[in-house]
């Protein structure tokens, strides 16, 4: 049996060594990982306006099609800053008047689009995504969702194309111009419903999370959209 002294020394040395190895690896690999994440974000934004961007070309395509970015507040006033770097996780913790709301303005073959980033909660962890709107700021042209830890085969299907493709053509305002976001409906949306898509069997809580994320994430842009429509 070793002495307590040995055990303490052993444990401390081990912890320090492990910490060195892991932080070393993390620091060395961080630039590569951050680059990967940036590229993925560009791919996701482009996907909502139906541009399939391979890994290598994502940056070039992003620079070509995303013609401008904006940061607005909840009343529609422009703020300073780089929209691409805004972290929605931090923003969602702030009170509404302090929040920075990023917007990406795209132009593809003469058509204008607006891409809105979203972030919310699924069953086990955060979910996030992007919604691309046509120039009427009402019709969704594409949506892209991702998650960190939803159940594979169930809630995780919000990350699948079949689920995301349902959003194209849906509307976030009704005919009177009232905000009416798309909902993910358990048991399936009625055929032809412009404000609902089919939920995921076995993934109800994640589906509800998507509904809430779209509602909360888009409603804060309502004044901005009204301003943009009036232009």
């Amino acid at each position: 049996m070793q002495s307590n002294r040995y055990i303490f020394l052993y444990a401390s040395t081990m912890v320090v060594l492990v910490a060195l190895v892991l932080s070393g690896a993390a620091t060395l690999l961080r630039p590569l990982q951050e680059r990967n994440m940036r590229i993925e974000k560009m791919q996701n934004i482009l996907a909502t306006i139906n541009i399939e961007a391979p890994r290598g070309e994502a940056e070039a395509l992003f620079n070509r099609y995303i013609v401008a970015t904006r940061i607005v507040d909840h009343q529609g006033n422009d703020l300073e800053g780089d929209a691409f770097e805004v972290d929605l996780q931090d923003e969602n913790r702030k009170d509404l008047p302090q929040r920075q709301l990023p917007l990406f303005l795209a132009e593809v073959e003469g058509k204008q689009f607006v891409v809105v980033p979203l972030r919310g909660n699924g069953l086990w962890g955060p979910i996030w995504g992007y919604v691309g709107l046509a120039d009427d700021l009402t019709t969704i042209v594409g949506a892209n969702f991702d998650h960190s830890s939803e159940t594979p085969g169930l809630g995780a299907e919000i990350g699948d194309r079949e689920f995301q493709d349902q959003f194209a053509g849906k509307k976030i305002f009704d005919e009177q111009g009232n905000f009416r976001p798309v909902r993910v409906i358990k048991g399936g949306a009625p055929a032809g419903d412009p404000h609902g898509v089919d939920g995921i069997s076995g993934g109800t809580i994640t589906s509800n999370g998507v509904t809430a994320m779209i509602r909360d994430g888009l409603s804060v842009y309502e004044p901005t959209f009204k301003n943009m429509k009036n232009l």
Binding site: M14, V21, A25, L29, Q33, I39, R55, P152, G153, G202
Partner: protein, 220 residues
Amino acid sequence: MSQIKDNALKEELFSSKNMKLLSNPLGKDNPISVQVLGICSVLAITVQLKTSLVMAISVVVVMGFANVIISLLRKTIPPRIRIIVQLTVIASLVILVDQVLKAFVYDVSRQLSVFVGLIITNCIIMGRLEAFALNNKVWPSFLDGIGNAAGYGWVLLAVGFFRELLGSGTLMGYQVIPEKFYELGYVNNGFMILPPMALITVGIIIWVQRHRDRSLVDIS
């Protein structure tokens, strides 16, 4: 495993004793079907063949390294904190694997998401460290780690194969059940996607294995 507990492993690298370390866990000492360890991850990640495959590979890597590291340290590890030491080694390896995947094969790492982290909770790994690597030399420990991970891996692949085939009609994401079948009224079995069917599939594997090898049936 008691017959290999002696430390007199002086034979050459690929002696029959050493090869048994590799082959036994595939069959009559299988961690899943015989020792019934690691069941939780089998339930969680076998909905698709692809995730099963990457999980199997990651576990082989982590288990090979973990067994080697613990075996190298075995004479220095204070028995009273050995579990903590083992956990630290496993957790560090898993974090490293995760970081490397994120940096170099980002797409694969995205698909795996939580599964990489789940390796830490795989009781087979700690089971082998505790039962084997702590008392054995480096090379046998390495073989034991690889063998057990492979034994875990093939069951994972078998379960993933049937669950994806019958549950979604695909394999590795590609449609394999022809469209014609669906037109004739064939329906994917949605139950296969849910965790209970993993348990039942493992049960069938255990049943088949024990039917073929009667020595497993009554161990007492």
